[in-house]
């Protein structure tokens, strides 16, 4: 024989399949221990996934609420804050009013499709001896389209000059119920403050921009001016023709008002987009921090995997020595043990993902009104994190295994 180079075994790296099956065998050889490790990993992963999903669901819920209003909406407020980034003057008064004439001037901007003025206030609304304090919105017929309102019965405010104070109103579902009971309300008269209005429509129940539409009464803006004895508008809602022309529209609005207000920039224009972005940011930050807190448990699970793998390495010295005697290189041993810890953490993550899915199902079943979903990227994150955890916390034990002296490892029995 003596033929030096035998060509019987060309050199290949170990087959992936072999690495996986060997490591899987090793990882699952000790059932009780393996189950506990999987449990720890599963708890950590499922809590991260569930929290991310809850946050993401909440974000979608809120964003959807706003997005139904359309992305080409601009809100014009009287007053302006000097400090940029600070809150706009949501409440309070300004010396120079935002008037109905200002609003009508805005309709002449080329990129503006619709304009609706709003005066808001509260007043006692009564029918006979029944009395309720309701939110009174003075507005125009355009509000219907701009805010995507829906009517249960009747019609919305009539079109025409906003300066006409017709004595008609549209009432919310809840207010109607409290004032009229089950009687038909259309065509009936009610009293707001000291004025009489005829009911011409009933709104469908719903929530728009955080306001419960059930408890509002909408009247023509001119009527509201008379009722509250003020000429200043609370808001002007502007719908742009094109959601890509928002900045241009915003600038045009500012220019128009500046000309009308003797060169003063005394309004604030908020785009729907800006509001959405802010909410999106807030919710994302919230979701991330909550998930980050839960991710601490991933670290703990990782420490645990490391610990158990260290035990495994010291229990399997003889096996490691044998593998080395059979010609396994340091790298191969390293790979085998890293694979083992990664398999463990991945299976744990898989179980965690299933737990999370079941948890979300349960939550969706318990709270059907809140749309819950598993965040699509949460599973990717969970698996990715599990892999990283397995590798990071597997390195120390795997290195220990790889560095064992074969003669020494075999000798100790």
């Amino acid at each position: 024989m003596m033929g030096n180079e035998k060509v019987a075994h060309p050199e290949y790296p170990m087959q992936i399949r072999d690495i996986l099956s060997f490591s899987l065998h090793a990882a699952t050889a000790n059932r009780g221990r393996t189950l506990l490790m999987l449990l720890a990993m599963a708890i950590a992963v499922s809590s991260v996934v569930v929290l991310i999903s809850l946050g993401d669901s909440a974000r979608h819920y809120v964003i959807d609420q706003f997005a139904t209003l359309g992305t080409n909406l601009l809100i014009v407020l009287p007053g302006r804050s000097e400090t940029t980034g600070g809150p706009p003057p949501l409440l309070g008064e300004t010396p120079r009013d935002l008037t109905l004439d200002d609003a009508m001037a805005l309709t002449r901007i080329r990129t503006v499709r619709r304009v609706s003025s709003i005066i808001a206030g509260s007043a006692l609304v009564s029918v006979g001896h029944l009395e309720r304090e309701l939110l009174v919105l003075g507005s125009t017929s355009e509000l219907y389209e701009i805010r995507h309102l829906a009517l249960n019965q009747g019609s919305f405010l009539p079109q025409g000059e906003p300066t006409r104070a017709e004595a008609v109103c549209v009432i919310g579902q809840k207010g109607k119920k409290e004032l009229f009971g089950n009687e038909p309300a259309i065509g009936q008269w009610l009293r707001i403050g000291d004025r009489r209005f005829r009911v011409i429509g009933v709104l469908s129940p719903g929530v728009s921009l955080g306001e419960d539409l059930g408890e509002v009464v909408i009247i023509p803006v001119a009527a509201a001016q008379a009722l509250f004895n003020r000429s200043s508008l609370f808001r002007v809602l502007v719908e742009s023709t094109n959601s890509e022309r928002m900045e241009q529209t915003r600038q045009a609005i500012l220019d128009t008002i500046r000309v009308r207000h003797e060169g003063e920039d005394d309004i604030t224009v908020i785009t729907q987009d800006a509001v959405l972005t802010t909410f999106d940011r807030i919710f994302k930050a919230l979701t991330l921090s909550v998930a980050g807190i839960a991710a601490i448990s991933l670290v703990v699970a990782g420490i645990m995997i490391m610990n158990v793998m260290l035990v495994a390495v010291s229990n399997r010295r003889a096996e490691i020595g044998l593998l080395k005697a059979l010609g396994a290189s340091r790298t191969q041993i390293l790979g085998l043990f890293l694979t083992e810890s990664t398999i463990l953490s991945s299976i744990g993550a898989g179980i965690g993902l299933i737990l999370a899915l079941l948890g979300m199902r349960l939550a969706a079943f318990l709270f059907p009104e809140f749309p819950l979903h598993l965040a699509p990227w949460s599973s990717t994150i969970a698996l990715g994190v599990a892999l990283i955890t397995g590798i990071i916390f597997g390195v120390l034990p795997a290195r220990r295994a790889a560095d064992l002296e074969p003669a020494f490892a075999l000798a100790r029995r």
């Binding site: 221990r33 708890i43 409440l91 309070g92 120079r96 808001a120 206030g121 007043a123 490391m306």
Partner: protein, 399 residues
């Protein structure tokens, strides 16, 4: 068995597997550290927010027009048919136990001094505002106690407005234009800082009646009452409610006592702290599973030793206690380390974000520590019982 022998024996077991014990305790430590740090941050936030609110004093009652029913802000703040008036404000001042009353109108407008102009918040208030809101005057004086309807056109500047408009120049006695009308500067305020995002320094204070005229409105936005320290907020609120109801004929206003508000706020913040702590607790749970795993491995490896102990006449219960003790001590060491991590973490956080100092709540710390020991106990039960249940002969054979 002597107690010190018990400890010596268990510590020996823990020390024999140094790295393993260290990692097990580390798991618990991270969990406890997270709980301590998070609850400290929660408490810090709690203190911060309460501090922001109580800087105006605690014996405050606010009255707003309109009855708040189910949701948030009442539309009546904006406009309403039944306003709160300066006369309402004056009448409330006559009530017993009411020390001071502030009528409030708030708005936004341009303020001009010579060539400088700045847009700022305009507060229409009474002379009493400085006392009720605990404002400090930096120079000059606050608004004089004029009759509400015929107040003179004086203005007091917030520190930021003063700086922006006058820089290092003298502001007192100067005339400035607010919404086109002339006011004489009679004082400027010390910096009060932000109040939940509202910059109180970027504001000017003028008499309420002047503000109403400026904004062309008839009604107040809020009336703030300061009541005597000895009287109960709810009792005073009840009296105010009766008095206003008598004037208006119905309850078309909302009364909020500072006490009530703090109570609600405190409740919300406490819930938040507990929720955040519970999130951190997930890590503790995982750490507990870690102890369980390591203790079962330990029992497995020390089967021979257990057999020997039993052969030497150690009772089942003693074996149980030995292994339980080991688990609890592991958890407690981890807990202590976690405490150190958490406290150092909150201290670091306070250094980095001095505005929001973390506040270590020892109640939470103590309960976290107890929880750690409990987790250890719970995680130790199963392996310890298995150790105690081993048959001595079988166990010896394993050696």
């Amino acid at each position: 068995m002597q107690i010190q022998d018990f400890f010596r024996y268990t510590f020996n077991g823990i020390r024999a597997q140094r790295l393993r014990s260290f990692l097990t305790a580390l798991g618990i430590a991270v969990g406890i550290g997270a709980v301590v740090l998070l609850t400290s941050l929660g408490e810090g936030l709690h203190h911060f927010v309460l501090g922001e609110f109580t800087q105006f004093g605690t014996n405050l009652i606010a009255i707003n027009p309109g009855k708040i029913t189910t949701h948030g802000v009442s539309g009546a703040l904006l406009s309403n048919v039944r306003p709160l008036t300066l006369e309402d404000s004056a009448s409330l001042k006559q009530l017993p136990q009411i020390l001071d009353v502030v009528s409030v109108v708030q708005g936004n407008g341009a303020i001009e001094a010579g060539t400088h102009q700045r847009r700022a918040t305009i507060y229409g208030v009474d002379a009493s505002a400085a006392r009720v809101w605990k404002f400090g005057v930096a120079a000059g004086r606050f608004l004089p106690d004029d009759p509400p309807r015929s107040a003179r056109s004086f203005v007091v500047l917030g520190s930021k407005v003063r700086k922006e408009l006058f820089g290092n120049n003298q502001a007192l006695g100067e005339r400035i234009r607010i919404g086109g009308e002339l006011f004489r500067v009679i004082g400027s305020m010390k910096s009060k800082g932000q109040m939940l995002g509202f910059d109180l320094d970027d504001a000017v204070y003028i008499p309420a009646a002047k503000a109403m005229a400026l904004f062309n409105r008839e009604s107040l936005m809020e009336i703030d009452l300061l009541h005597s320290a000895g009287s109960s907020s709810s009792a005073v609120a009840e009296k105010v409610k009766k008095a206003l109801q008598a004037r208006h004929g119905k309850e078309d206003f909302t009364i909020t006592t500072q006490e009530k508000m703090l109570e609600i706020l405190g409740g919300v913040l406490n819930t938040l702290t507990i929720a955040v702590g519970a999130l951190g607790g997930i890590s503790l749970l995982v750490g507990g599973v870690g102890i369980l795993t390591i203790m079962s491995i330990t029992v497995n490896e020390r089967t021979g030793e257990i057999g020997l102990l039993r052969a030497m006449g150690v009772e089942r219960n003693q074996i149980l206690v030995l292994f339980l003790g080991e688990a609890v001590i592991l958890a407690a060491i981890g807990g202590l380390a976690g405490l150190v991590i958490g406290v150092c973490g909150s201290w670091l956080f306070s250094l980095i974000v001095p505005a929001l100092p973390a506040h270590i709540s020892w109640v939470y710390v103590a309960s976290a520590e107890l929880l750690a020991a409990f987790v250890g106990l719970l995680a130790g039960v199963l392996p310890a019982r298995r150790a105690a249940g081993l048959h001595p002969v079988e166990a010896l054979r394993a050696e």
